[in-house]
């Protein structure tokens, strides 16, 4: 019950402030316009970089929203409401991550084909692009809670958050973008996808514990 009310509240809060949801998408669109402008509009050049660009954009646009996962709650005092309510902290973290995924990860997945079209991604790679993003965006949210919890009472924690989270996300990027790239080259992406799923399981078990520990230290 507590899990659902926290999830529900966070989705509602994000929904009320719709800019949180569409801004990452606008950001993606802006960046993707710059690639042809900087690289030249040749379909072949764009096609080559498409798997990586779609993936990196998905990553960055979620990265810019991570900072506020716990920061907002810390600032308006509602963090105290659920940390002191006797709710298990790792469960609360999973609820926060799930809400973050629903409000940023899911729109990014839905929007990914648009970006892919603009970059001439080969048609064969769409399925695997969606699948890899579907596995990976929850990882972003889960690992993001760790970073967000670490910097929640810092004023300018954004840059630090990127430094902390980048090494965690590097393997995810390698496997995810790799899966799409292999598909465009006509190889099987099964290995990459399996490893990506492994990353998901690992972050689902470890990230809530780490984030809960960080919150605890921050409240000491």
């Amino acid at each position: 019950m507590r899990f659902w009310i926290l999830l529900q509240r966070d989705v509602l809060v994000a929904w009320r402030k719709k800019s949180n949801i569409y801004q990452p998408l606008v950001f993606q669109l802006l960046i993707v316009t710059m690639f042809p402008l900087g690289l030249g509009a040749g379909a072949q050049t764009l096609q080559k970089i498409a798997p990586a660009v779609v993936w990196i954009l998905a990553l960055i646009s979620t990265l810019i929203t991570l900072e506020n996962i716990f920061k907002d709650d810390y600032e308006d005092g509602s963090l105290a409401l659920y940390t002191l309510s006797g709710m298990s902290l790792p469960v609360a973290v999973i609820a926060k991550a799930a809400a973050h995924w629903l409000t940023t990860g899911l729109p990014v997945i839905i929007f990914a084909p648009v970006i892919a079209v603009l970059l001439h991604l080969p048609a064969s790679a769409y399925g695997i692009l969606m699948l890899s993003l579907l596995i990976a965006t929850p990882i972003f949210s889960l690992l993001g809670t760790v970073g967000s919890a670490l910097i929640m009472n810092l004023k300018n924690g954004g840059m630090l958050l990127s430094v902390l989270i980048m090494p965690l996300l590097a393997p995810v990027l390698i496997f995810g973008a790799g899966a799409v790239l292999e598909t465009t080259l006509g190889n099987t992406p099964v290995g990459h996808i399996t490893l990506l799923a492994g990353c998901f399981v690992l972050s689902l078990t470890l990230a809530p514990l780490a984030a809960a520990a960080a919150i605890k230290v921050n409240l000491e």
């Binding site: 507590r2 600032e75 308006d76 002191l84 000491e220």
Partner: protein, 207 residues
Amino acid sequence: MQSTILHISHAQCQKGGEPLFAPVDLVLQPGEMAVVAGNNGSGKTTLLEAVAGLGSFCQGGIHFAPDNNRDSWLQHSHYIGHSLGNKASLTCLENLHFAATINGIRTNEQQLSDGLAQVGLHGYEYHYANDLSAGQKKRLSLSRLLLLNKTFWLLDEPFVNLDQTGCDWLFDCISKHISQGGAALLTAHDNKRIHQQADHFIQLQRP
């Protein structure tokens, strides 16, 4: 109501490595009220946060009688700090509903609007917390106290931002809670009335 006794023994908090105030001792039983007073920057908020579990003591600490179980004590206490815990983009009703549910209390809409009416927010059920005045925001957070029915109230400057009627109402509210076997630990830097009424009065001093 729960009959845990809160012991604060020789407790000190620090900021930047320096102790904020001279050691504090307090035994707070249900049916009693304790008031913490002190100048600005004397560490009232830090002390209350540490008691509520949002901070730590550098010396001494708190324990509970009879069973020294912090979690069960937290279950029976409610803390309202400087940041009130209202989500700006949720309505009053939604805020209250969240606070109740996260504390494991099932409520229906009628109970929630009754709760709001008790703090004088009748007719504001569907207003966003953001649109309320500072005093009304305070009232919204205080409405949680009545709904959640916890034994220990930990209130940080509860009278600030409230108008005269609001102060009177809160005062009565706390007295009633005490007489029903509740306990309150609150900070108030200049409220003579509550200072006189307190069973325990703690003046924070420089270490």
